[in-house]
Every structure is written in C-alpha cells, then in structure tokens.
Symmetry: C2
Subunit: 363 residues, 2 copies
C-alpha cells in the first residue's frame, strides 16, 4: 500500500525486529512501531497497534520467528521450551482470532525439525515470511477477481476497514478497489464512518487518501440516502466469518447496508479468502455475536485543537449503551463472495465445492 | 419535562427576560440561558442555544414580545417601527424554519391594534404565551394518541431528538413515550446515536435519563441488528416536513430505519402536528435536501478528561465528507402518522381530509 507515496506493508520483519504501522495513532499520526522482542510483539497485538485477523496472524508468525531468532542458548530442548513459551504468550493475546492460532501452528510446525538450532531459526523466519507472503497473495487474487466486477466511473460503498491495514497488504474489500484504481479506472468510494469504532473514517479513508483514490466519508445514516438517490453502483465489504449456507458475520451495520442495497437493487459483494468460511458452521444463527464495552459508544478518541489525541465523552453520564460488535447478514441479501479462487454465489452447494477444493494453507 | 426531578420547559418568559435550556452544553452541563433583550434572543436562535422547529417558533414569539415590552418611547408609529425591526432580526436567524415565521406573524398580528402602547405590549406577551401553550397542547395530544399504540413491556426505537427539547414541552416522537411512562407502562427505549450531530445520544438520552425512562444508546449501525433479533416492537420518529402523499422528510438515517423496520415487520410511526404537513408539496421528491458542513462528520464535540467541552478531529486531514442532513422516507414504509387529531394512514385522501379539517393555528 502507498503511504506518503512510498510502498509499505502493515507489518514486516528485518533482522530480529518486527515493524508495524501503529494503528493506535491513525489517522492523526503515521508512525512505525518497532518491536524488539516477542513480548513487545504480544503487547502490540493486545493493545491493537496491529489489528485485523490476517494482520494479527502475520504478527503472531513473525513474533514466534523473533523468539526463535533471539534465543541465545545451545541446547535444542531448551530452545524448544523457549519457543513454546513464546507461542503461549503470543497465542493468548487475542484468544478469538482464528488466524493467529493458525499462523502460530504453521510456524511452529516448520521450526521444530531437530537438526540444528541455527537451521531451526532460519526455518522459523522463512515460515513466518511465507505466511505473510501467502496472505498478501490471497488478497491480491481477491483484488484481481473483484476488479472484473468494477466498471469505469462507478461509485462504490464500503463499510468498516477491510483494507491493507487489516491484512499484510492490499486488504480484502479494498483490494478490488485498489486494483481497479491501479488499472486506471475512474472510481469514487463512499466510506461509511462505521460507528462505534470509526474504522471507516479513521482507517479506510486514510488508506484511500494515501492511494489518491477519490472518496468521501459519510455518516452511516447517509448510506441509504445515497443508494436511494442512485449514487451507489456497488457495495463491497469484508467478512469475519462465513457460514456454509452463505450467511456472513461482519462489522455491525453490514446487515443494514445489505438490506438497503437489496431494496435499491444494488449489487452487494463480500470479499474474503476461502479461509474465512467456517466448515463447522451451518448457518449464521450459529455464530455468536460479541458484545463489546459500552465505552466504545459513550466515548470517542480524537485530536483536539492543540494536536493531542484524547478520549472524549459524547453522552450523558447517566445513560448506558449497548454495543454488539458484529451482525449476521443472511445469504439472500448477498450477490456474491469474492475469494482468491473466484466469485462464489452464496449457495450451500457452491460454497461446499469451493471450500473442499481450496489449497492447503498457506500455499 | 423533568430535569433533576424538577419540572421545566425548554423555553419560558418571566418579566422581560426569556429563559431557555442551553442546548449547546448538553448533555455535559445543564444551564439556563437568560436572554435580556430580543437581540440576545436572536443570537441564541442563531447559535443553537435553542433548536428544533417548534422551540424556535416559541423563541421567536417570545423574542418579539420581549422587543414590545422593552420599548421605552410613547409614540405608536415609533413603537411599530421598533417591533418591526425586531421582527426582521428574529426572522432572519434561521431562514428555513417555517414555524419561526409563522409564530412571528401570529404575535405581530395580535400586537398591532393601535389603541395604546401599554395594551399592545400586553397583547404581544399574551400572544407569545398563547403560541407556546398551543405548541405544548399539540404535543400533549400527540402523546395521548401515541400512548394508545404502546403496550406494556414494549421496546421502542427512536431516531434523532424529537423530544421536549425540540419543542416547548413533551416533544413529538418522545411525547407518546413520556405519556406511556407517566401511565406506568414498563417500556425500554433504544436510542439511535444519530450521527453526525448525535442528537440521540446527547439530547434524547439526556431527556430519558432525567425522566428515569429505561433506555440504552446504540450506534446507528446496531438498529437493524436489534430489529432482526426481535428486540424492537415499535419505531417512532419525528418529522421535519410531510408531503401530501405521506412521504416524510426527517433527520438523515430515518429512511434506513424505516426500510429495516419494514423488512422485519415492525410498525414504523411518525409523530408530528398537522402543521408539519405541507399542502403545497405533493410528494417527497419535491422536498429539497439540505447539505450541511462536512465538518459535522469530520469533527465532533465532547468533554475531555479535564471536563472541558471541546471540538476534536476524528478523520484524516486529507479526506472530504458528504453530509446530507435529511432524507425522505416513502409513505409505503410508514405504518401511521400520529397527530394531535389522531393517527393518520399515510394515504393522500386521508391526509387531505385531516389537513382540511385542522383547526386554525394556534388554537
């Protein structure tokens, strides 16, 4: 992704340090956070310096490689113990993110071939890099497939941030938009603010501004207005989990946009790698919805006129809030799901065929 | 309305001062603003110390009475000139609000019977008070009619603030909720935050907290989620303008909630006095939609940890925003319109019958 006209990834590793775009400070300040050991990396995941399931997966993978590389002893059993402890520390940072556990297992399985500690360290780093590159390639392929759906002069609505910042690069929902822009298509993106955490106005808008893709932030309330006015040709969002019947769990508000797109005859697409399908989940009703802290609704973060990033109260002291973080969009509102293997109709039989044939991850 | 267990109106007059709840400071601080002359009153309307069409109407009416009362000369022609100048100053504060102009004309027409300046002053004050009391009575009647629709143990969703603070007392959408609560019905109110100006979380929640009506603030994105979960029995909103075919212009996001209520088979009611119907407007497509400053989306007001109310940026420096302030909800999504004369179906013939038979305003 472009940031200040330079090419960046959300996260990368050099020598034994992990570097990541500090998402706590966006959109107000662009800063690279340097983690010097796996404990700092675990802390960075916990405190959401890095967020988004694929990005957290890569942070975990690199974090485990970092532990291996920084091990200073000579005893292989002791090395294993040290790396296992790092695995546990990293794995417990965000217990619900499936990608994190998957990435850690992948790196661990490649690391522990007991020939030499030096070779094991090398393999750990290579496995972490392979994982990150695989993640980028999945996103890039989603972008290529999605790009075919986007015509010149179209206006696209997106919700939340399923962008490069949530992945290692490209993003999921933003990948087709990026690739369309790289292919010189003239497009305009309506960016849902995405209350309560404002990932749209603080992250998606920031990514689009950096890529110089024309866009405007809108209140979530205004999406239906623009749809009804005929100003939106196409909706594209990411996904947190997809059931085998095509129901999609994603950021709160996705369901509202899907119903409104359907009412206004606007195509509604979900972009996600095949790894987002949960083969054990038959329908959306089986997906538990996380209720997050009411403070996300009652307070906000912003930059005051002196340039300080602060927490502000925006509600009465006496009023409680309810804060479901995700919702489930029934398959009937979804036009198609853009994956690395092509576009899937949200129908059980078609999903099963694609998921059965997906490649072993990663590669 | 109750505030800290005491009965208040949004605006009232005593001697030659006008007192109003300072809505610039809510929900963080409850303060009564005292306006000592009509120029201060005009400024209070302009700076939104008082807001909401019916409340602005009352502010204009009292402001004109204030000008009359404070006139110190003895010449009737000079008195008329002075009051006319005040009329112009007050009328130009918010040029789009129809109630303001209506209220000013009402008070002016009652004032200028050239018998004596003393009598004219008296009539000006009485007319302003009559206007304010009429407004309260309309709202109370809307509440009585709407209350009949609300059953015990129901959960109600409301959008924006069509509360006592937007009127002189009771409110429109909040009036049935208040009356149901006064009648000891057990109800729960879901309060849409209502981005970008947050009238839901800052005003509606504040009113409900003061009345001790159970409620929770939700992100606008979460309304559809709660509807789909079967948690909402009833939606009630206010209206800025209603076309003769039943299309309703109201705060941005109203259309989204109406479509979602319809999709989930939830009754969707609009509460408004008959004066909100525009007999010259045949359908919603004739209603112009105001585009407000993008700063309302890009910045927010809140209270920092030191207790200071400040403006802060919540978006990237480079990103523009689009900010339509209202939308139009087609009549087909509306179950009924709660007026002071009863509940109207949003059908041309029925609307025409009610509007033709409405009483001369006020009284």
């Amino acid at each position: 992704m472009l940031v200040n006209n330079q090419n960046y990834r959300t996260i990368w590793m050099q020598d034994s340090s992990i570097y990541m775009i500090n998402q706590q400070l966006l959109p107000h300040k662009f800063e690279i956070y340097q983690s010097k050991n796996h404990l700092q990396t675990a802390e960075a995941i916990k405190s959401m310096i890095v967020r988004g399931a694929p990005a957290i997966g890569a942070a975990g993978a690199y974090g485990l490689a970092q532990a291996a590389l920084l091990y200073e002893g000579q005893d292989y059993e002791d090395f294993k113990k040290y790396v296992d402890a790092a695995y546990n520390a990293l794995n417990s940072t965000r217990p619900t993110a499936n990608d994190l556990n998957y990435a850690l297992n992948f790196v661990k399985s490649k690391t522990f071939v007991p020939d030499s500690i030096t070779n094991s360290k090398m393999r750990a780093f290579e496995a972490a890099d392979e994982y990150a590159n695989w993640s980028i390639e999945m996103c890039r392929q989603i972008g290529e497939h999605g790009n075919k759906l986007i015509k010149n002069n179209q206006n696209i609505l997106t919700h939340c941030n399923a962008g490069a910042l949530a992945c290692v690069d490209f993003g999921t929902a933003l990948s087709p938009i990026r690739i369309a822009h790289y292919n010189k298509k003239n497009i305009f993106v309506y960016v849902d603010e995405t209350r309560p955490r404002n990932q749209g106005s603080s992250l998606t808008a920031w990514e689009l501004a950096n890529e110089k893709i024309s866009h405007a932030i809108i209140a979530d309330n205004a999406a239906g207005f623009f749809m009804k006015q005929g100003k939106i040709d196409f909706v594209i969002v990411g996904a947190d989990r997809i059931a085998m019947n095509g129901d999609v769990a994603n950021k709160i508000g996705t369901y509202e946009k899907a119903v409104l797109a359907n009412e206004n005859n606007i195509p509604f697409y979900v972009a996600a790698p095949l790894s987002t399908f949960d083969s054990k989940c038959r329908s959306g009703s089986e997906i538990p919805i996380e209720e997050r802290s009411e403070d996300e609704v009652l307070f906000m973060h912003g930059k005051d006129e002196e340039g300080n990033i602060k927490k502000f109260r925006i509600s009465p002291q006496e009023s409680p809030a309810k804060n479901p973080a995700f919702d489930v969009t029934p398959a009937k509102y979804i036009t198609g799901i853009i994956t690395e293997k092509g576009i899937i109709k949200p129908i059980k039989e078609e999903i099963e065929r694609f998921v059965r044939n997906k490649n072993q991850q990663p590669l």
